[in-house]
Chain length 427, copies 2
């Protein structure tokens, strides 16, 4: 078994954490921003130092490749993203980019034989923090392979017009793309013709590995999910002048619904070995004035589970509740999106599990509740993911942390899984 | 008994509804805006037409006065405001201004004898829609007479710096004031030296008169109230990656609290003859992203009742609930403001009740749940209010409606109450 270098990985973590450093432990590194360009430049510098060939595609994804011994073999790629959410942490995305770099550096430093060309990759604009949606560029690149219900969300021309959610020097994603020096040609895109496997290494973003005392996880699939808006309609009146019994208070209705939904969902979860997770992250009321009874209230509902049958059961509860009267308000629900679970390539998952076991790592099988570029890529070429232990399960925030040791362990697992893939006749 | 003119009142309603007409039944007429200037100009035109003397004070309140037979008598004033909320209705505020005008027009047209000078008045910036706070100018004018706990909210210098909540051509209320041609001198302010009584006629803004089949209400007092922010603190994590049992979801906490508070408040209300009204009009969560568990949630709570003991009981419930754990989140509460009930002058209330009875109107005693300039004025000079029936109890919205007949009935009640005040030895 080969191992990656803790020292080299630590140096990368320290270096990349400077690009977009927000001054209190985390970073803000929007896609194609000056901070992201610093990270990309560092990627080029370090990959050129080991003799890798740098390529960019037309949506600014970057590829650093070292050749293999078989001139006919397709590339094996390790990739993730270098952009972050606003006030995000030092690991989400960039850990997978650093892993790809570390694997290549280890292969070169230790002169590890391999047939396939090996590529470290940066996926552009995964977070979609500045230019929505999330996973925009993997959606563009994998477009032809996506199921039909996902396609409308990633039409190239529309994505180019995506406008920033925050201040940006560019009016659209297309403008930012036109201005970057990392825009290359479409032929360089990751594709089934040139690539045979994709590995994405990422922090877990949850507490499951930590709670179980495990360092790494072999990801089996990305959970399916549905996302709804749940809306309540009452009428507004003056806070001081309207008797309680006559009120049709949309916020009271939303709160009562939300509590009943928790009760019903928790009852359903109690009957299952693998719980579904559900989240009401947004809420809005109208007119949102302290002296007015709200006439409209709306919250978001996000539900995730690997099995469609379980999502269907949760949906049935949602629809049953929505048909009721809530504090004299009506309720309607609207689907925002819904997507099936995405299973990863069983052979690649097997290589990852064998590597973790053989390295003597504390590991487990795990599911991904979050979305990743790997999930779109899985529709196009064999793909899998490796998770690393996340301190307190926190991510998308500045305290997000993975120890240098755990990053290195995940990189070693990735390296050996890639080498097993390289050695396999099936790839 | 004297009666006001339905025809003349209808004409005023029709005319004033044009100033700030939003095109779908209501108006937006911010204080000191061009639309408000049109209304003020119409006030001048109509009051000059009956020979009233027009004065403006330093905060742009306007006074139209006809002399009485006793040169030593103080003025009796009827006033309200001509500004509206955004997309408000055609009655809130302006009904009381039109009432003052109609009373003066009736007195002049019918040559009704009276000792006291009679004044129709426009209070500036009651709604505070553009320049907060509400009742800003009555707060300024009555400042010296306000209880200490209200004073800090109405410091003149600070009010002049009040900045617009919406687009405005002026940077501060002081700038808007400096630019208006209706700014006059401070000596013209309503004061106990020159004025002996204030009547404010206003739509009820609630459904109580309508439900009881009454046309008008004799307002006894403005309810006391407290306004709190109720905040919940959990922590955020990713919607897809964090197990349900480990979540500290601030929105779930806020919803559970809100439902329990409704239950406890309703139980308390069931024991009382006069219910308290309570409203949670605003809610915010952080980070308010559909894929993030909210770490912070906050809602507003507004509670109103005439008796301090009842407000104390509601407050005790609030504090008891805030001390509990809510879905693994902590709760804290913060007082925004609190004010005592303001009883109106019993003699003036009596004049209003007698007038309503003698006019054969369908009337009742009623409380004001909303705040009005009359409530600050009551600290300075004897004051009372007359309410008129409000269609469906709606106000602060475009469907807000009072029939021409009900406006005229309320004006007649005001006229006769003013004449009783005029005839009384006590004023």
């Amino acid at each position: 078994m080969y191992k990656c270098s803790l020292e080299r990985m630590s140096d990368k973590i320290k270096t990349f954490s400077k690009f977009g450093d927000a001054g209190h432990g985390g970073i803000t590194r929007y896609s194609l921003s000056p901070a992201a360009h610093q990270a990309r430049q560092e990627f080029v510098k370090r990959m050129e130092a080991i003799g890798a060939k740098i390529e960019c595609d037309d949506v600014a994804c970057m590829y650093a490749t070292i050749e293999g011994s078989d001139p006919n073999a397709k590339r094996i790629v390790m990739g993730s993203h270098c952009d972050s959410v606003k006030n995000g942490g030092n690991y989400d995305g960039i850990e997978g980019v650093m892993t790809g770099m570390e694997v290549l550096e280890t292969v070169v430093a230790e002169n590890i034989p391999h047939k396939h060309p090996l590529t470290a990759m940066i996926w552009t604009n995964e977070e979609g923090s500045l230019y929505p949606p999330a996973m925009m560029v993997s959606g563009i690149i994998c477009y032809d392979y996506l199921p039909d219900y996902l396609k409308p969300n990633f039409v190239y021309e529309n994505m180019m017009k995506s406008t920033p959610m925050d201040e940006s020097e560019f009016a659209t994603f297309g403008d930012a793309l036109a201005a970057t020096k990392f825009k290359g040609s479409k032929e360089n895109r990751i594709s089934p013709e040139k690539y045979c496997a994709m590995f994405e290494t990422h922090l877990e973003q949850g507490p499951i590995l930590e709670d179980a005392g495990n360092e790494v996880g072999a990801v089996q699939l990305v959970m399916g999910m549905f996302n709804y808006r749940v809306r309540f309609h009452g009428f507004t009146a003056h806070a001081g002048t309207f008797p309680m019994a006559k009120r049709h208070d949309a916020l009271y209705a939303a709160s009562a619904f939300l509590c009943e939904m928790h009760k019903r969902f928790d009852e359903l979860n109690a009957t299952m070995s693998q719980e579904f997770v559900y989240t009401t992250g947004e809420i809005y009321v109208h007119p949102c004035i302290h002296t007015c009874i709200p006439d409209e209230a709306e919250f978001s509902l996000d539900v995730r589970h690997p099995e469609p049958e379980v999502l269907d059961k949760a949906m049935a509860i949602l629809k049953e509740l929505a048909a009721k009267d809530w504090c004299q308000c009506t309720c309607d629900i609207e689907e925002q999106w819904k997507r099936d679970a995405v299973p990863f390539d069983k052979r690649l998952v097997g290589f990852v599990e064998e590597s973790m076991e053989e390295l003597g790592l504390k590991w487990q099988k795990i599911l991904s509740g979050a979305g990743h570029d790997a999930q779109f890529c899985a529709y196009m070429i064999p793909t899998t993911m490796i998770f690393s232990r996340t301190k307190d399960g926190l991510s998308h925030c500045e305290p997000e942390h993975v120890s240098d040791e755990d990053c290195t362990a995940a990189a070693s697992a990735t390296l050996n899984a890639v080498l097993k893939c390289d050695a396999s006749d099936e790839f």
